[in-house]
Symmetry: C2
Subunit: 204 residues, 2 copies
Amino acid sequence: MARPRLSEHTRQQLLDEGVAAFLTGGYHGTGLKEVLDRVNVPKGSFYNYFESKEAFGAAAIAHYAECLGSKLTGALARVPDDPLAGLRLFFAQLTAEFQAANYVGGCLVANLGGELEGSDVCRSALAGAMRDWRNGLRKALGAAQQRGQLRADMDAGEMADLLVETWEGAVIRMKIERSTVPLQRCLDRLLGDYFQPPIRAGGA
Amino acid sequence: MARPRLSEHTRQQLLDEGVAAFLTGGYHGTGLKEVLDRVNVPKGSFYNYFESKEAFGAAAIAHYAECLGSKLTGALARVPDDPLAGLRLFFAQLTAEFQAANYVGGCLVANLGGELEGSDVCRSALAGAMRDWRNGLRKALGAAQQRGQLRADMDAGEMADLLVETWEGAVIRMKIERSTVPLQRCLDRLLGDYFQPPIRAGGA
């Protein structure tokens, strides 16, 4: 039997549509058929790309994490001398995207993290996505610390962990209440207050 | 046609089993049949209690919120003179339950909040659950402020909002990483540090 010809373009399209479908319909609420129909791939060919819905879910999570990482890198690169402004730019971009989507979707990691009990394959992909996202933030937070933009007495990794967790919870609440207030609070309270350097005594 | 005889006991059983099933299987991943089988209720009778799966989902969310509220009230009542200790007791109880369940389940509000795009009925129930949970915490945080256990320069409602959001995100991460570290960080960072009263100058 001839080896099937695989197209990287089709694979990327499947992942893009998979992310979009899982975001709005959830993992269990998404049928492979609707994804395939959008990309015009017959079901038989799908299995040349991914061996199962579960493997496809894991690949979509990894794809989503890559996109998130690119957005963070891009935002930081726009203001190379101001990592705190870069972080704010990144979160403002995510917020604008959530608003543009009318709060439908949110964060794939949080959504599938809530839903995916049974699949170790997907859980492992979610853990990887969470780790990459946290490590990207840690790097930016550390750079902001070095410039004196953020307090130096808290580990940048610990800050990144708390920021990721608060943001994910805020995104869930944003979806429930259809409001960006929780997102804004996360940024104001953490980046704008708790992570700020102490006001120097006598500096006023 | 005779009006069907409804049993409050059966209704409660359906809600208990619904919460358990939605927690582990998600909304879309849960079939009504499995819930009915556990309670020994035929499908026809189910619709005497709830008009649809969606209405059942909303009722299960409200039932879950009530249980959460009772746990908080119970924990606070155990140490009536120490609301901060009561809050810690409450979160320790939730943490112990998550561990006992081997991190399967988590918080129904976060799980369904991630998954329930399409249903305004369920979204409204989730918003109500979130509001009740936040208001219960606000009351306890306010009491802790009045006793000087927590800083007085931050609104108790704002603290409660941030605590709810960080906790929900931490629960999602707990599920993904099968670890209570995110939960502990939420409590240590917020209750144990950010929400603490300032150390008085000259007080050392």
